[in-house]
Symmetry: D2
Subunit: 195 residues, 4 copies
Amino acid sequence: MSVRTPDPDPDWTPNPDEPPKPNPNPGWLSDVELAEIRRRLPLLYVEAVPVRVDGLGQVVQVGVLLRARATGEMTRTVVSGRVMYGETLRDALFRHLEKDLGPMAFPQLPASPVPFSVAEYFPLPGLTVFTDDRQHAVSLAYVVPVTGTCEPRQDALEVTWMTPEEAASEAVSAEMEGGRGALLRAALASVGQLR
Amino acid sequence: MSVRTPDPDPDWTPNPDEPPKPNPNPGWLSDVELAEIRRRLPLLYVEAVPVRVDGLGQVVQVGVLLRARATGEMTRTVVSGRVMYGETLRDALFRHLEKDLGPMAFPQLPASPVPFSVAEYFPLPGLTVFTDDRQHAVSLAYVVPVTGTCEPRQDALEVTWMTPEEAASEAVSAEMEGGRGALLRAALASVGQLR
Amino acid sequence: MSVRTPDPDPDWTPNPDEPPKPNPNPGWLSDVELAEIRRRLPLLYVEAVPVRVDGLGQVVQVGVLLRARATGEMTRTVVSGRVMYGETLRDALFRHLEKDLGPMAFPQLPASPVPFSVAEYFPLPGLTVFTDDRQHAVSLAYVVPVTGTCEPRQDALEVTWMTPEEAASEAVSAEMEGGRGALLRAALASVGQLR
Amino acid sequence: MSVRTPDPDPDWTPNPDEPPKPNPNPGWLSDVELAEIRRRLPLLYVEAVPVRVDGLGQVVQVGVLLRARATGEMTRTVVSGRVMYGETLRDALFRHLEKDLGPMAFPQLPASPVPFSVAEYFPLPGLTVFTDDRQHAVSLAYVVPVTGTCEPRQDALEVTWMTPEEAASEAVSAEMEGGRGALLRAALASVGQLR
C-alpha cells in the first residue's frame, strides 16, 4: 500500500543536503499552506517521460527515475512536479526536467502544449488507475526527448534507460509509483512503441 | 480592458435568483477562501465548445454563449468552470455543460480525456493570448457535440449557433471573453473546420 | 505465419452469398488492377475500434470482430477497409462501420479527423509491429462509440464485447490479425483505459 | 484557378538540372503509371510545416516555401511529398524535408506518428477546403522544428521565415497552394500559436 504513497514533488520534500532557498515569489505557498490546500483543491502537475530518439525521431529508449523513499524503499517514477502560480506550463516542465535530470540533459520540449495523456490522481483508489495519498492532482503528461547527459539531482538516485519493451513490462509497472505504469504505457502507445 | 475581466465561473458568482445551496462537500471552498487561493495557485478549469454535428460526425454549427456582465456589458464565451476537489474531469465537464446549457442538451462527452487545447489564463496579458484578471487558470478545452435542446441557465442569456466561418470571424473573436476567440479557432482547427 | 495474412477488406474478398455488384464508380479498381497496385503503392485504410460508453463518455466495453478465414481459422480484428478514390475519410469510415457492424449500429463518428494512431502495415515483419502479407497499407485508426445493435455482415461472424482489461490482454492480442493487438492497446491508452 | 493546381511533388516533376536517377526500387512507379493511378486511387502524402523554436520548445518562426511554377507564377507551400511503396512515414517525411530544405536543416522529427491534421485534397473543390487538380491525395501533416540551415533544392526557390501572426494572415493564406493556408493555421493552432 505504501508503494502508492510517494512524494514525487521535491518542492514539498526539500532535500536536507541543500540549504533552504528563499521563496522566490511571495505568491507561492509555504509547506503548511500547501498541506492545507491539498485537502481542498485539485493541484495542477506536469509530468514528463524522458526518451532518447534516433535520427528519425523514433523512440529507442525510455528513462525511468529510481527514487529512494524516506522509508528506504525504492520506487520508480517519471519526471513530475507542481505548476506554480504565475508559471507557464513550459516553464514548469523545464524546471522539473532540470530538477530531476540535471542541467545537462538538454530536453527538447514539445512544440505542442497538448499532453499525450491527462492523469488524474486521487487519494482513494478506484476512481482512476492513478493514486496519490497526499492529494487530488491532475497531471498533464508529455514525452520529452533528451539529447544530453542525465544526472539526477535531489532525491532521484538514477535514471534507468530501458527499451520500450522493458518499460512496458509488468515488472516495471509493478514498481512505478501511484499507478504510473499505465502512464508509461500510454506514453509508449502515443509514440507508436507499445506492442 | 474590462472586456477581458469576465467571471465565467458561476461557482464564484452565485445566481441571485436561486437560493444559496448548502456546500455539498466540506472540502470545497468558501468564496473568501477561494479569493485568497486565486492569488496563490493556478486553478484547474475545464472548458467546452458545444457543437452540432451531421450524420458523419462533421461539425456544422458551433454554440457560443452570450453573457450579461454585472456592468451590463454583453460578452461571448464558451462553457467553462472550475474542477472541484475529488471531482473527475468528466464529472466537472458534465456539471458545467448542464449548468450552462441546461438539462436537455444531451452532450456527448469525448471518449478521450486529452483536450484539443490547453489554455493558460494569466491576470496580466502577454504571457499567452488568454487573460483572466481574477486568477491564473489552466483550462483543458474540449469540443462536445450536443444532440438536445440548449436552455442556458444562470447568467448565460442564450446560446448562439453559428457556422464554423462565423465562429472563426474577427467580429466574433472581438466579443469573446479573455481571448477565447483563439480558443474557438483552435477548436475549429481541431475538427478540420478552420479555413 | 498464415495467422498474419488476413484479408480484412471485403472489397477485395467478395461475399459469395451476395450477387456481384456493378462497379459504382468507373474510377475504382477491378480486383486484378488492385492486386497489381498492391505491389506498387501504399494503400490508404481507415480502421475503427467500436466501443460502448457510459453517460459521461467513458469507454466501458470494446467490440472486437471474430472472423472466419478461408482456411477455416478464426481470427480477431477491428473494423477495417480501404479508402476509395473520391471518397472522404468520413464516408469511408461510415461505409466500413456499416459493412462490418450492420445498419443499426448507429456509430458516432468523431468530430476530429485526427486518428488516435497511424498503423503502418508491411508485407514483411520487422519495420513496424503490423504486418499484412497482401500489401503495404497505412491505416488511420479511430475509436468510435456505437449506440445501437451490431449485426456483423459479410465474413465477420460476430462482435465480441469485452471489458478494456480483456481487450488489452495477452490472450486477445495473440488472436488479433496482423499485430492489431497493439492497435487495440493504443486505442485503450488514447481513451485513458489502459492499465 | 491555376493557383490551385500546383505540383508540389518533385518525384513527379524531375529537376532538369540533375541527371535522371535510376529507379531505386522496381516496385515504384513510372510517371505514366503514376498518372494513370492518380485517377483511380487516393495517394498518401506526408506534409511538414518547418518551424523554429525557442529554448522552451515554443514556436517562434514558421517556414513557408516559395516556389516558381512552370507558368512563371510564384506560389507558397509547405514541405510535401508522396509516401513510396515500402517506405515508412518517418522515412518519407525525412526524405521530403531533406529534398525541400536541404541536407543541413537538421529537422527534429516528432516522436509521435500522429499528425496534427489530416488534409484531404480532391480534384474538385467543395468536399474539403483543400484541392489538387492532379489527384485525390490524403496528407498526414506534422509540425517539424528545424535547427540548422535551410537551403531549398529543386524547384523551391526559398524558405521564408515568418512570425506566427504573419503565417496566419489572410495575405499569406491567399498565396498558399491548394488551400494550404488552412493547414498553416491548423499547424499554428496545434502549437498554441493561433490568435
